[in-house]
């Protein structure tokens, strides 16, 4: 199962990285979301993945590692607020610059 998890993490990261390298702001937002999913799951899996043993004292005899969960919980909220911010930034850029290209204009690749 570890292999399945690892592959999933790899796929999430790859797709996220590919999308943040695209030229349009919306694709970058999509990519950032995928990437933060990947990172959150990665951090989460560092506490090892166990089933049916939430980190509640007294509920199970062998609770899972609570620390990565606490880290990831705030990470989820922060990445949400960052997504919101980037979305508004993209909107603002699209309106003011009349283009949703990440460089704010519609050039061809890399202005070569």
């Amino acid at each position: 199962m570890e292999l399945v998890i690892a592959i999933t993490l790899g796929v999430l990261t790859s797709t996220g990285v590919y999308l943040i390298l695209r030229a349009r702001t919306f694709s970058v937002v999509l990519g950032l979301t995928l990437l933060s999913h990947g990172v959150n799951l990665f951090l989460f899996s560092m506490g090892r993945l166990t089933t049916a043993s939430p980190a509640v004292v007294g509920l199970v005899s062998d609770p899972t590692d609570p620390l990565p969960q606490a880290l990831v919980l705030t990470a989820i909220v922060i990445s949400f607020s960052m997504t919101a911010f980037v979305v508004v930034l993209a909107l603002k850029a699209a309106v003011e610059l009349r283009s949703d290209h990440v460089d704010g204009e519609d050039p061809n690749e890399d202005r070569q």
Binding site: Y18, L19, L21, V56
Partner: protein, 936 residues
């Protein structure tokens, strides 16, 4: 403290000069400016003279004040024989230069600027020779380069001045960088930057592996500063400076800084073959190149510049020999050189101003019009030639006798004496030339001012004083040596050696013969100059300045092209660079690593997990594949988010699952809102090469993360969470460890995080505030999306759902400390419930019924959280310590009333406020109909 005063007095003087210039601008007050400028250097000189008795006891006065002890930087000054000699030359000649400049700059507007700069330069120079700390000395070292740059470029309207200034800055500044490296190495070897410590650590330094590198770097700094070949090229071009600057910086003081450094570090680093080889050979080459080229210069200042280079080479050669007697000769010659070269430069300045030319092919026979100048100049010129009875004669003879004493290595014992004799021959020739050519040699040719302008007599005073001092040194060498120079020599050899015996020198046969050969040969050489100059003219002319400029231009072009390549304004490219920079080192470090599979047993496959993982992967890949179609991609993205939620739920993280679920709803709503203003598709604009590049970067990144995760997951866990699990109930009063960590153990982090959330929300508010999208939406003709904006069923259901949802969120909030839940989740659930009202009823409808001021909510939440933390301060506990007691409410069950709950309330309030602020502001953009209320 007084030693420190020596360094900083000229700064005060510079400020005074600056004020005097402000008060009395214009060309008519040069006399006043000069008097003001003279105060500080004169006080410094008197102070130095008052120190002489204490120096003569052989004492090294050290004053220090701790400054940045962590990096070994101290404000420390040291006055011993060597620094006294240099400091006295600097201040003494400085005073005379100021007097000279008073006449040189008479009637010129720029005089005030000169006096400010010259005093700043004096500070820098005194700082070099008086610093006890090497790092501190380096600062002054760089300062001399900078002030020298300003002084060479003094008449900045001239292209030559600008180029010369830049050249000297690049060369001496580059040397300064090398010196910095050398000094840092030296400090590491010794463990201290104090000169006293360095001088006491000779054995450690010389036996260290890094000694050759350290020495080379330090010498690079010294050679560039003291214009040693091949770095001498900047000095002739620095002659574009006004003559007082040339006389002061480029003959008497600054170019001696490198020599000072070598003499200073000689006890610590000298006496090795490397020292001898590097310095002696450099000195010999410089001595010969300077002497030879000087002979063929037609510009008076050019001749003097090359002659200075040659003399600097001579002193370097002596320092390289390194014996106590050679050191004595070096310092003796250094002093005599300062005394005869400065007046020669001053003479050049007077001739230049009087006749309007410095070209010796035109200037001839000035003895008729300037007899006094001729008489005064005779002394330093004779000293430079090394005629008998002159100081230069003695120092040259000392050089000859020292050259005969060199025995090892074997190549040196015949080469050096012959070499220095030839060089001395040249120096006799150019000395005769400058004197004979300027004052005799027939009639002047085509001079701009003829007859020459009268210069005031006062301008001759500094020349006279220096010439007299030079003469005195030649007539009473033993007395001068014993009282002053001997002390400096002791400081450079750290030993009490016998005094130099000049009577023995006068009896020496071989050096006398070498002098005779040089003298006769030099005069013959001068007499035969006609044909020689003709031959010299045939030689290809190399303009160092052009070569230098070309190199500079190439450097600039290279830098520009590099910048254009790296920084072309494409954010995609920057991001790719960042990714490459992150991936490449990992790839390099981890290539060949084979321990990816850890020792733990693999757990069995679970059909549900595999199914979830497959969907997760497929939806993520789908997003990447179909990202050109934005709405489908967004829907696929929400599938990914849902399955991440399920993953959290599956692997024992109910808190995370709840958080992720509510966040997912909010995020998708926000992105949908944004999408309605953006194009619905992304153009296919990436070329094949670009896609391959990005795919490989993405593939590498993904592979790396996957491998890393696999490597960790197949190893046994070694966690620090035992502490949290054990102390959650007794210390934090809650059984839900995740929540206890958030609000108690790591409460401070959480406070930071909700602050970030609040800031992001306020930023969104600020951005949307003046964003005018209404026309865009109206004109875009996307009306079909709004055909039935608020379906009636949704409206009804959502209204009924609201109280239930709020109740649920209150429940989640209250039980959060013991069971999955807490402020974050409750806040998000509330926000989702309220968002549903917006979506169902429309913004206007919702605003009529709801609070629309969310920013105060964010502030209140942050205040509650902070106040809770401060509360524990008030009762004497560390920030954010929680106190609790348990309560039992019907239906909800047992929960504890902890201060952590209050903190969580702050979290809850902030989350609700921030989330709704973001959503409502984005939603506001949508309201085509009606202005709506201000949301904020």
């Amino acid at each position: 403290m007084d030693i420190g005063l020596l360094v900083f007095l000229p700064v005060l003087g510079a400020i005074a000069s600056f004020l005097s210039r402000l008060k009395r601008p214009g060309p008519d007050h040069v006399q006043t400016h000069a008097l003001v400028a003279l105060i500080a250097p004169a006080i410094c000189l008197l102070l130095l003279l008052s120190y002489l008795p204490r120096i003569q006891t052989g004492e090294a006065l050290v004053y220090s004040l701790s400054w940045v002890p962590a990096i070994g930087l101290e404000l420390a000054f040291r006055l011993d024989g060597l620094s006294w000699l240099f400091a006295t030359l600097i201040t003494g000649i400085g005073c005379l230069i100021i007097v000279y400049a008073r006449y040189y700059f008479a009637g010129k507007d720029t005089a005030g600027r000169f006096f400010v700069l010259i005093q700043l330069f004096m500070t820098a120079m005194l700082g070099i020779v008086l610093s006890e700390n090497l790092l501190f000395m380096l600062i002054f070292w760089e300062l001399t380069s900078l002030v020298s740059f300003l002084l060479i470029g003094f008449t900045w309207s001239s292209r030559n001045a600008r180029r010369g200034a830049r050249m000297s800055l690049v060369i001496t500044g580059g040397g300064g960088l090398a010196l910095l490296g050398g000094i840092l190495l030296l400090g590491q070897i010794v463990g201290s930057y104090q000169i006293s410590d360095v001088l006491a650590a000779t054995d450690v330094i010389v036996s260290d592996d890094r000694y050759p590198l350290t020495l080379s770097l330090i010498l690079l700094g010294a050679f560039t500063k003291s214009a040693q070949a091949p770095f001498h090229l900047w000095l002739p071009h620095a002659m574009a400076a006004p003559t007082p600057v040339s006389a002061y910086l480029h003959s008497a003081t600054m170019v001696k800084a490198g020599l000072f450094l070598m003499a200073r570090l000689h006890p610590a680093m000298g006496d090795t073959e490397l020292w001898f080889g590097l310095i002696t050979i450099t000195g010999m080459v410089t001595l010969m190149v300077g002497a030879f080229v000087a002979m063929f210069m037609h510009d008076i200042k050019g001749l003097l510049a090359y002659s200075t280079i040659s003399h600097l080479g001579l002193i370097t050669l002596l320092i390289g020999m390194g014996s106590e007697m050679a050191m004595a000769a070096a310092l003796f010659h250094l002093t005599t050189h300062a005394l005869f070269k400065a007046p020669l430069f001053m003479m050049a300045g007077i001739v230049d101003q009087a006749t309007g030319s410095r070209d010796m092919r035109n200037i001839n026979g000035l003895w008729r019009t300037m007899p006094i100048l001729m008489l005064i100049t005779a002394v330093p010129a004779a000293a430079m030639a090394g005629l008998p009875l002159m100081s230069g004669y003695l120092s040259k003879k000392m050089l000859f006798s020292e050259s005969l004493l060199v025995t090892a290595p074997h190549w040196a014992n015949t080469l050096i004496p012959a070499w220095v004799t030839v060089a001395a021959l040249f120096s006799v020739a150019y000395s005769v030339r400058i004197f004979h050519n300027v004052f005799f040699n027939g009639q002047p040719v085509d001079l701009p001012h003829w007859p020459p302008r009268k210069k005031p007599f006062g301008m001759l005073v500094p020349l006279f004083i220096l010439a007299a001092a030079s003469l005195l040194m030649g007539l009473a060498p033993q007395a001068t040596y014993d009282s002053v120079i001997h002390l400096a020599v002791m400081a450079t050899s750290m030993s009490h050696l016998p005094l130099y015996d000049f009577s023995a020198l006068s009896g020496a046969q071989v050096p006398a013969m070498m002098s005779m050969i040089a003298m006769v040969g030099g005069i013959v050489f001068y007499l035969a100059r006609g044909p020689l100059v003709a031959i010299h003219r045939q030689l290809p002319e190399v303009d160092a300045k052009n070569i230098f400029e070309q190199i500079m231009q190439q450097c600039i072009r290279f830098a520009q092209s590099l910048v254009y390549r790296l920084e072309n304004g494409s954010l995609q490219r920057y991001l790719a660079f960042i990714l490459v920079a992150a991936i490449a080192p990992a790839l390099w470090m981890l290539s060949g690593y084979s321990g990816w599979r850890g020792p733990s047993e693999l757990t069995d496959l679970n059909a549900m997990v595999v199914f979830g993982a497959v969907i997760l992967c497929l939806s993520a890949i789908g997003v990447a594949l179909f990202h050109h179609q934005r709405l489908p991609a967004l829907l696929l993205l929400s599938v990914t988010g849902l399955f991440v939620t399920l993953a959290f739920a599956q692997f024992s993280a109910p808190d995370l699952a709840l958080t992720q679920l509510s966040v997912e709803v909010m995020a998708v709503v926000i992105m949908m809102l944004a999408l309605s203003f953006l194009p619905q598709t992304s153009p296919r604009e990436s070329g094949a090469g670009r896609i391959v590049r990005d795919l490989s970067l993405a593939g590498l990144a993904g592979t790396g993360v996957g491998l890393l995760a696999y490597a960790v997951l197949t190893r046994p866990a070694d966690t620090i969470s035992g502490y949290f699990l054990a102390n959650s109930v007794p210390g934090g009063g809650g059984t839900n460890v995740v929540n206890v960590i958030l609000v108690d153990f790591r409460g401070f982090d959480t406070l930071g995080e909700i602050t970030v959330l609040g800031i992001a929300a306020v930023a969104v508010f600020a951005f949307t505030r003046d964003l005018h999208l209404k026309e865009r939406v109206a004109s875009a003709g996307t009306a079909k999306g709004f055909a039935e904006p608020h379906p009636i069923i949704l409206q009804m259901v959502s209204r009924m759902a609201l109280p239930i949802a709020l109740l649920v969120s209150a429940y989640i909030f209250l039980r959060g400390h013991n069971m999955p839940g807490g402020g974050f989740i409750a806040g998000l659930v509330t926000a989702v419930a309220l968002t549903l009202q917006y979506m169902a009823g429309g913004l206007v409808w919702a605003q009529e019924r709801m609070l629309t001021h969310f920013r105060p909510l964010i502030g209140a939440g942050l205040l509650i959280a902070t106040a809770t933390g401060l509360g524990s301060w008030v009762v004497g506990y560390p920030f954010l310590t929680s106190a609790f007691s348990h309560m039992d409410w019907p239906l909800i069950g047992e929960f504890e009333l902890a201060t952590a709950l209050l903190f969580d309330l702050g979290v809850y309030t902030t989350v609700v406020g921030a989330t709704l602020l973001i959503l409502a502001n984005l939603g506001k953009l949508m309201t085509v109909a009606g202005p709506g209320r201000e949301v904020g």
